[in-house]
Symmetry: C2
C-alpha cells in the first residue's frame, strides 16, 4: 500500500530498535530513556485510583473536554506560579504525554519547508515529529553553558527561522542545562528576531546539583510555547503532559487535538490529579532527585576510573542522561557493535543529529541499578580502550 510522502525518510525510532537488541538480560543497558520503576509512587497512585472510582465512578469513564480536566490544568498553573510564571489554567492544554504536545505544536504551526532551529545534538522525538511536518532543521551547537548564543544569533540572522525548539534543562540527549545568562540571552534573541521558542521541559524538576533556574519562558518578553510532562515527576505510563501556549494559539491547538484523539483519557487525568492533590509531590520529587544523584555520581566516578582520556563526557546537574564524545575519527556505531559483545549498550549519537555526526553516544543513568552502573561502565571502559587502542 503506497504511503504518504510525509512518511518517507522518517525511520522507526532508532532507540526503540536498539532497545530490542539490548533487551537480553546479560546486557547492561544504558541505551533506554526509562525512569527507574522504583521512583513511581505505585501504591499512592493505586490509592488515588481507588478514590476516583469510589467518588467519581462512571463520570471518570465518560467522554470529557478536549482542553483537559480542569482541576489538573489549575494544578499545573499553580505550580508555574511558584516559579514566578503567571499562567491561566485556560492557557494549558492537557496532552497524551509531551510527545503529543510536540505533535500539536508542529501541527498547529509548521508548514512544509519552514525553518526551525534545533539544538545540536537535538531530541530525537522532536526530529521525528517535526520531520513529518516537513521541517527544515537549522542546527545550533550546544556548549557547556547551553546553546551557543553567538551561533544561534547568526543562524537566526541567516535563515530567518521563526521557531527554535529547545530542551534547556538537562537536555535529552546531552544532559546539558542552560545557565541563567544563556536563558536571558535566548529570551532576548527570540524577541529581537521574532522567533517563537518551543521550550520542552520534561526534566526541569530533576535538578540534583547546582542552582535552580526557572524555564526560559520566565525571561521572555515575546510569545513562546512551553511543554511539560508528568512522565518523569510521577510516571510515564499514564501518558500525561501539557502545552502552555498563550497569545491566541490555544484555539488552533484545541482544534488540532480534537482531530488527533478528541481528548486525553479522562480516567488517567482524574487519577493523576487525585494523586497530586492527596500527596506531598515535592517530597516525592526530592526522593527521585536523590536517587538519580546517586546514580549519576556512581556513573561519573566509574567513567573517571575506567574511560580513556580521549573520551569527553558531560557531568549533568540533573535529568537522566550523560553525553560522551569520542575522537572525531571514531564511529560510535562501530563502538556500539563492540560494546554489545562486551554485554553493555548505549545509544550511538547519530540519530540526534540532522547532519549525521557519528562520534558521540548517550548514556542513561536513571534506569540501571547502582551496581549494574559500576559494572556496565567498567565493561564499557574496557571496550573503549580496545576500540581506541
Amino acid at each position: 500500500m503506497k504511503t504518504a510522502d510525509r512518511m518517507q525518510g522518517v525511520h522507526r525510532s532508532y532507540i526503540r530498535e536498539i532497545l530490542k537488541v539490548t533487551a537480553r538480560p546479560e546486557i547492561i543497558s544504558f541505551a533506554g530513556g526509562l525512569p527507574h520503576p522504583d521512583s513511581f509512587p505505585a501504591e499512592r497512585v493505586a490509592a488515588a485510583a481507588a478514590r476516583v472510582f469510589a467518588e467519581e465512578g462512571a463520570s471518570a469513564l465518560q467522554y470529557s473536554t478536549t482542553e483537559g480536566y480542569a482541576p489538573l490544568r489549575k494544578w499545573i498553573a499553580d505550580r508555574y506560579a511558584r516559579q514566578g510564571l503567571t499562567v491561566a489554567p485556560d492557557d494549558i492544554l492537557i496532552t497524551t504525554g509531551s510527545q503529543q504536545a510536540l505533535d500539536m505544536a508542529g501541527r498547529a504551526l509548521l508548514n512544509r519547508g519552514d525553518a526551525i532551529v534545533i539544538e545540536r545534538p537535538g531530541y530525537l522525538g522532536a526530529i521525528q515529529c517535526f520531520s513529518m511536518y516537513g521541517a527544515d532543521f537549522k542546527p545550533v551547537d550546544l556548549v557547556s553553558t547551553g546553546v551557543d548564543v553567538d551561533m544561534l544569533e547568526s543562524v537566526l540572522k541567516r535563515t530567518g527561522a521563526r521557531y527554535f525548539y529547545a530542551v534547556p534543562s538537562f537536555q535529552n540527549p546531552s544532559g546539558i542545562s542552560y545557565d541563567k545568562e544563556t536563558r536571558k540571552a535566548v529570551a532576548e534573541l527570540m524577541a529581537r528576531y521574532d522567533c517563537v521558542l518551543i521550550e520542552d521541559n520534561p526534566y526541569g524538576e530533576l535538578r540534583f546539583l547546582g542552582e535552580d533556574v526557572p524555564p526560559v519562558r520566565c525571561y521572555m518578553q515575546s510569545p513562546s510555547i512551553l511543554l511539560g510532562s508528568f512522565s518523569k515527576m510521577v510516571a510515564p505510563g499514564m501518558r500525561l503532559g501539557w502545552i502552555y501556549a498563550p497569545d491566541g494559539l490555544m484555539d488552533s491547538l484545541v482544534r488540532a487535538k480534537q482531530a488527533s484523539d478528541l481528548h486525553t483519557a479522562s480516567l488517567t487525568q482524574s487519577i493523576l490529579y487525585r494523586y497530586l492533590a492527596d500527596n506531598d509531590v515535592d517530597a516525592h520529587i526530592a526522593s527521585i532527585r536523590e536517587r538519580y544523584k546517586t546514580h549519576r555520581d556512581i556513573m561519573v566516578a566509574a567513567i573517571r576510573e575506567h574511560f580513556p582520556e580521549e573520551v569527553a563526557t558531560t557531568e549533568p546537574e540533573g535529568g537522566m542522561f550523560l553525553w560522551c564524545t569520542l575522537p572525531e575519527t571514531v564511529s560510535a556505531e562501530s563502538v556500539f557493535q563492540e560494546a554489545i559483545k562486551h554485554n553493555v549498550a548505549f545509544v550511538p549519537g547519530k540519530p540526534f543529529y540532522v547532519d549525521g555526526t557519528d562520534n558521540t553516544f548517550r548514556l542513561n543513568f536513571s534506569n540501571a541499578s547502582p551496581d549494574r552502573i559500576e559494572e556496565g561502565i567498567a565493561r564499557l571502559g574496557k571496550c573503549l580502550r580496545d576500540c581506541l587502542a
Copy 2:
C-alpha cells in the same frame, strides 16, 4: 501567532460548540454523542484497576511499546476470529481512541489533494481529521440499505479515488447500516477500482434489531483498514481504540504513532485488558443493547406520535443515532434556534456534509433517560410543527 496552512478551514468541532449551548439543565439534549453512563461497568473496571496495581505495580506505570499491550492486541484478534476474520495480533495497533486511529490512517496514507470518497452525510470527526491532511472529499449518498452502490461506482470511475472512508454499521450521524448485499458490492468495487476501504466500526457490536452482519472486511479480497473502539462497548474515558491494517502498512502506522504520542497509556491498556479477561463481556454488551433498544423504541414511537409527516426519520437497528430529514426548503440550523427556545436540542446536519446541505439533523438516543426522551421528542414535535406551519 501565525498558524500552519492546514489549520485554515478546520473549525472547532461544531458539536462541541453546540454542547456548550445545550449544557443548561432545563434543556433536554439529543445533541451529544455520549454513551449512557449507567452502561459503563464502573465497579468492575475499578476491580480490574485494583488487580492491575496489586499484580503489576510499577510496570503498569512504565513506558511501553508503541504497538500496544500484547494481551490486549491478542484479545482483539481473538474476537475478530469469532466473526470469521483471521487477524494476527501483530496486525493490530492500539490507539488513543478510534479518533487517533483515523488520524494515523490519514497521516500514513494521505497526501494533500488526494481524493477520498466519504459517505454523505459523513462522520464529522473524520472530515475534520482528513481535512488537516488536505483530503479532497468525494461524497457518495447513503440510502436505506447503506451507501448508494451505483453512485459509489460512478464516483470511483470518475475520480480515481484511492480511499473510501465508511462507517458501515449504525453510522454516525445517520444510524444507517449497510445490508449484506451492499457490503459484498462495496468489497467487490474496492477490489475492482484498486480503492482502499477505511472501515470505521465503533458501533458494530451495538445491534439490537435485525440480522447480524460482519464487517465489510470479511467480504474483501483486496487490502483494507479496519478501525475499532472500546468507547461504546466498555467506556470512552479510557480512550482506547485500535487500527487493524494488514499488507505492509503497519510499519508506517507504528512510525506515525511514535511521532504522535510514543504509545497509548500502559495503565489504561492494562486495566481494560484485566476487565475484559475477568468479566463476561458478551453479557455486558447484551445489557447495553437492551438499554439502547429501549431508548430507541421510545424515541421512534414518540417521533411517530409527535413529528409532522414531512419529517423523514431513519429507524436504526443499532448504534446511538437517528437521522431526520426536513423538507428541502427548511433550514435545520434555524429549527435548532427555535428548538433551544423549546428547551430541546439536536445537532443540525450541516457539518456532516462537505457540500453544506442544511435540511437534516441528528438525534442521539443513548444518553438521555427514557422519560426525558419522551418529553424531549414531544417538545421537538411541537417546535417542528410550528416551524413547518
